[in-house]
């Protein structure tokens, strides 16, 4: 596979082009802009036969994708921060209607104060929107996940939208060597065009988005919940096949020196690559440290989490967002809840770092480890690494 030095945003645009997408609709917002700017050029140059629907807001961008996916088009959009927040209403409709839209989210902090830099507060606010949610930690993973997202979302057993998260600036604006496969290989992986289970077409009228009265809403939501949980089987299958064709392995939890580790760090996104250095430093000091990088946030990989921590004594969960007035962070809160009663010897600590673009450094992870010996983890006392106090 030819390897090319390319900005990660542009690599995403290449992935969308290789996926032969029919409709792109997006509104520019930092740090997502390069992705859709490049796609706009690709379409205008005739390199990709697709409609680029210009819109006045992210709410409409998602609405346009919903309409396009409903008639059976392969769709793409991308956003960040306030844009994702503005899209919120339509995110729930996309998943509720079971439309396999693919979206790249260049994760960025939420206002106020206005901040264009990276953390995970945007996507964490949309945690329950019913989308499959993947987290990439480098450019290659981002590129691969975009292709995987179409294959997963469009599978007839899934039929759900997929969101690929990548850290704003940290990943979007970095130039990396990225293996970009030939079009023929991508065709082989993605198969034919998207064939929806049911499509809006005048020859065969259907109703999408009918009213769901109290006598049916519960059943519809249960079906949606089971579809999202059921998608994990397909995700694992798709990752297996991806490995066979492209040679790169994916799993819900990527591990680094984790199998014999007593101290485990768990996090999502690009900081996991920085954390590997911290793990090595701890290992050099004789501390059995290891890393769990969560790739699959929704559906949450319960079984993989249980097996990953069964020999650990301390689990340090790093959040990139605050859940105001609640447990320190959403990742910590969910991991702790998932592990309740599963491993009685495991102590779980939560730390928050890297808010609004503050650099996450190797020493931050070492400090988190040191602080497990003295931090309280009481409500109202979120442990923030790197805070001036």
């Amino acid at each position: 596979m030819p390897v090319k030095a390319i900005e990660v945003s542009f690599a995403i645009s290449e992935a969308v082009k290789l996926a032969d997408v029919d409709v792109v609709s997006a509104y520019p917002i930092t740090p997502q802009t390069h992705i859709v700017e490049r796609l706009s050029s690709i379409i205008a140059n005739g390199e990709l036969d697709a409609e680029f629907i210009l819109v006045e807001s992210e709410h409409t961008a998602m609405s346009a994708c919903i309409g396009a996916a409903a008639v059976g088009a392969r769709t793409f959009t991308s956003t960040s921060s306030q844009g994702l927040a503005l899209m919120s209403e339509m995110l729930y409709i996309a998943s509720g209607l079971r439309l396999p839209i693919v979206m790249a989210v260049a994760n960025r902090a939420l206002s106020a104060p206005i901040n264009i830099w990276n953390d995970h507060s945007d996507i964490m606010a949309q945690r329950d929107c019913g989308w499959i949610q993947l987290f990439a930690e480098n450019g290659q993973e981002t590129f691969d996940m975009i292709l995987q997202a179409y294959r997963i979302g469009e599978d007839k057993r899934v039929h759900l939208p997929v969101c690929v998260n990548l850290d704003g600036f940290i990943l979007t604006h970095v130039t990396e060597p990225i293996g970009i496969p030939e079009e023929s290989e991508v065709r082989k992986f993605l198969g034919k065009k998207f064939e929806p289970l049911l499509r809006l077409h005048p020859d065969n009228p259907i109703t999408m988005g009918p009213v769901g009265h109290p006598d049916i809403y519960t059943e519809v939501k249960k079906a949606q919940e089971m579809a999202l949980f059921g998608s994990k089987k397909v995700i694992l299958e798709v990752w297996d096949e991806f490995e066979k064709i492209f040679g790169r392995k994916y799993s819900p939890i990527k591990k680094y020196l984790a199998d014999d580790a007593e101290i485990l760090f768990l996090m999502m996104g690009g900081i996991a690559e920085t954390a590997t250095i911290a793990i090595e430093e701890l290992r050099n000091k004789g501390i059995k440290a290891g890393l769990l990088s969560l790739k699959l946030w929704r559906p949450f990989p319960f079984e993989e989490l249980f097996s990953s921590v069964k020999n650990a004594k301390i689990l340090i969960v790093i959040d990139r967002a605050i859940s105001f007035g609640g447990p320190p962070g959403p990742l910590y809160s969910e991991v702790r809840s998932a592990l309740y009663g599963k491993n009685g010897n495991l102590q779980i600590y939560g730390f928050i770092m890297g808010l609004g673009g503050r650099d996450v450094k190797v020493e931050n992870f070492l400090e988190a480890y040191e602080r497990t010996r003295r931090c309280s983890q009481e409500p109202g006392k979120a442990e923030i690494i790197g805070l001036r106090e």
């Binding site: 509720g96 209607l97 079971r98 439309l99 039929h159 289970l197 049911l198 009228p205 259907i206 109703t207 999408m208 988005g209 009918p210 769901g212 009265h213 006598d215 049916i216 519960t218 059943e219 519809v220 249960k222 079906a223 089971m226 579809a227």
Partner: protein, 93 residues
């Protein structure tokens, strides 16, 4: 009342055959029932024109009456009738 179990519903609750709204018998929402006095009815069809649910129907000899399967009892027909031929009577379900 729907009877489908959760796994029997189309993905996204999509309705895949047209015209199924007719199966939604909205008449049981009704609190008041319109009762038409044929002696006062002048066959003007104003009730038919105003009914938001197509529940006013022409009956024998050009008079108008109600389709109770869908009439929700809104009372617009009674309000608009120029001869006060329609009376809204409390339903006793």
């Amino acid at each position: 009342m729907a009877n489908e179990k959760w796994h029997e519903i189309n993905p996204g609750a999509i309705i895949d055959r047209p015209g199924s709204s007719k199966e939604n018998k909205t008449g049981n929402w009704r609190t008041f029932r319109p009762v038409t006095d044929k002696k006062k009815c002048i066959k003007c069809a104003i009730c038919w024109l105003f009914c938001p649910d197509n529940s006013r129907i022409m009956v024998e000899n050009g008079y108008f009456d109600v389709n109770l399967t869908y009439c929700k009892g809104c009372g617009i027909c009674a309000e608009e009738c120029p001869t006060d031929a329609i009376e809204m009577v409390m339903e006793e379900w």
